[in-house]
Amino acid sequence: MNPQFFADGLLMGAMIGLGAIGVTLTYSILRFANFAHGEFVTWGAYGTLALTGAIGFAAGSDIDAIGPFSFGWPLLIAGLAAAILTGLLALALDLILFARLRAKGTAIIMVMASFGASMALRSLCEFFFTSAPRYYSRDIQIAIEILPGMRMTPDQLFMIGLTAVLVAAMHLLMTRTTLGRSMRAVSENPALSSVVGIDVDRIVRATWLIGGALAAAAGVMSGIVVQIRPFMGFDLLLPLFAAAILGGIGSVPGAILGGLIVGLAEAAAVPLIGANFRAAVAFLLLTAVLLLRPAGIFGVRE
């Protein structure tokens, strides 16, 4: 098999992993499967597109790309701003929809509501940006051979590096800070958390902000290396859940490892069984995990 699949899988896995961190955190802290999470990926990508355009317009002239990359500093600034805005979007969605349902509803009602929210957000996206694919840059990049038989473009290498930094930062946040410990505490036992003095509502808000921002990062990555489409996040939903469940719900390292496994499996499936079956791989993995080890790799059996 051509070793190139490994580079493709790694890249795909990094994207899935970043998105899956948000899924795994909302799942464990808010106790419901948020099917609108994919839309945060999409909105992050489009938000970055719109802001990059705005910065370019304000600057008035063409801004050069940085070094070997296809993008310049406007994309980095826009990406950061879009990540914050997507976090706020997630927070707003919680405020107007999920928080109300949480007060009286059951988990299944919230899951259904998230389906509705997903459709509404996607349609809004199509309304504003149309369904035609968009790109941050149309420049063609030359892939460099990083290992024998394995090529990656400078953009792709940057993405892998960025993912590694974000994951390390998340891991430190979860294990070394009061906020991270509080998030783990709330995911295990919300009532006890409030007894020890944790404001659970504040932790819920932090979770939405972080999950939304990381989803946006995944969206920008996907936009740079593939393309920007209104369905890009929705199509990623199944791999996201497969990765979160495979890694063990609530585990950040689990989500990223799950993402890499799903990404590599999908990439390996293309030469082995054909590109048509690529999407089925996440589904098969998900089914297998649920049957064989429902708690996931890092999960704790309840």
Binding site: T178, R181, S182, R184, A185, E188, N189, A191, L192, S193, S194, V195, V196, G197, I198, D199, V200, V300
Partner: protein, 245 residues
């Protein structure tokens, strides 16, 4: 006598407004006392203490902590006002280490005090100091109970409330936990505990309240309650059962 640390007046509380579990309970806990709340299963003892802790809705009545009205206050604020609570079950975070459990609880303290209080707890519970890195889920039942108590004491509370601290522990461990509670009282902390194990509770308590069907039924000093025939008939039976099981 100084103002009571805790004053509960005509408290009505429960999960549904049509069927309150606590139906008009009143009590006063003075500074430095150990007070036990006793009663048969379903008397509303745990619901009462959870309502005070803000975990169960209060429908009417008032709760005062010192001069402060804490009726219906958010649970996470109560610890900052000096009220610490140790739930009966699931009272430690099993996926966090012993050190993380305590560090998390110390976050409500001013930064400068955290280290001092943590060290004080490790001195007071040397068992925990030896197992800082262990996940709390891997501690034995008695050690978990100690961790839960240490977590509550860490913030130097005015009042320590415990829900059935003896539940699920062997008689030997019950003795150990109760001996620790006595030591804690000597350090100036007021203690309110709910207990099924009436004899063990009255052995360390100064006074007790007996709750039946969510209302005050009897109250008195531990000695008086132990020698009261009605109380003996109602509860010491269940204590005997608990001791043999």
């Amino acid at each position: 006598m100084s103002a009571p640390v805790l004053r509960i007046a005509d408290l009505v509380a429960g999960y549904e407004v049509d069927v309150p579990v606590v139906r008009g309970a009143s009590m006063e806990i003075a500074r430095g006392e150990i007070v036990a709340i006793l009663g048969p299963n379903g008397a509303g003892k745990s619901t009462l203490i959870k309502a005070v802790a803000g975990l169960v809705p209060i429908f009417s009545g008032r709760v005062h902590l010192g001069e402060r009205d804490i009726t219906g206050q958010k649970t996470h604020d109560l610890i900052r006002h000096g009220l610490a609570f140790v739930p009966q079950t699931e009272n430690v975070f099993t996926a966090l280490s012993v050190a993380e459990n305590l560090a998390l609880a110390s976050a409500v303290l001013p930064r400068a005090e955290r280290r001092v209080r943590l060290d004080a707890m490790y001195d007071f519970f040397p068992d925990l100091a030896r197992q800082k890195a262990l996940l709390a889920g891997r501690l034995s039942g008695g050690q978990r109970q100690m961790l839960a108590v240490a977590r509550a004491l860490l913030v130097n509370p005015e009042l320590l409330m415990l829900d059935e601290p003896s539940a699920g522990l062997s008689p030997k461990l019950v003795e150990l936990v109760f001996a620790k509670l006595r030591e804690i009282r000597e350090s100036g902390v007021t203690i309110l505990l709910v207990e099924q194990n009436a004899r063990a509770a009255l052995a360390i308590a100064d006074r007790g309240y007996v709750l039946v069907e969510g209302r005050n039924h009897h109250e008195g000093t531990s000695a008086a309650l132990l020698s009261d025939s009605t109380v003996a008939e109602l509860y010491l039976g269940s204590a005997r059962r608990a001791a043999t099981s």
